[in-house]
Amino acid sequence: MMLDTERNKHYNEYLQNKIPKTKPWPTLFHAFWVGGTICLLGEIIKDLLMFWFNDMTVDEAGVWELVILIVLASLLTGIGVYDKLGAYAGAGSIVPITGFSNSITSPALEFRREGIIFGLCAKMFVISGPVIVLGIVASIIAGIIHIII
């Protein structure tokens, strides 16, 4: 027992030395401007859609906006650009919906070599699975709370 805690302590010290040291302030700024720019890009896409298609409602355009951002992020992941962006921007690339798309495409790409059915398709939701599971559970809880209140 004593040996375990001793070893854990050593391991933690080792880990502290191995983790790349980044200054927190610049990464905050990177996350801020990259995240803000992605949101701004979404808003511009929405406005352009409503400008080109006169009969499109705001809600429809909002859904199309997300679909376009998701497909774009997936393509950027495919050509390897999004991972570089992620290394620079941190949460700025994770928190927008593009990060959700990246978290689906990235394992799909990675496990492609294990085959299409058991690699690509089976491992696709390895990161974003929790998002969908907890999202569905939370939405049903929200519905139930709505009935009670």
Binding site: A31, E43, G78, I94, P96, R112, S139
Partner: protein, 122 residues
Amino acid sequence: MFDAILYLKVFLVGGFVCMLGQVLIITTKMTSARILVTFLTLGVILEIFNVFEPIKEFCASGITVPIIGFGYSLARGAIQGYETFGALGIFTGGLQAVAAGIAAAVVSAFIVSLIFKSKTKR
């Protein structure tokens, strides 16, 4: 239609939300899946307390593009599903609201992985 002040608000709020995520990463060393789940739950909670709509009116994509908006869509879908279809709507509404997003993500991930080779690890 192209509103510069709205764009500024979108940029500032969207950036602020992402910066909050970065604060979480720095202070708790959360992985990306946990960050996504945390913000998703935040969106659901905001919708339960009816706070999301006013924020959305203020800054549009600044709050709907972050994953918070995904949680909001799920929760709002379930609530609206109950209003229109009764109890069954709670089960169908949430997924219906985000179906476009999930389908787009799955299909594009599938096609992209068939076309491109993984670049991150050699």
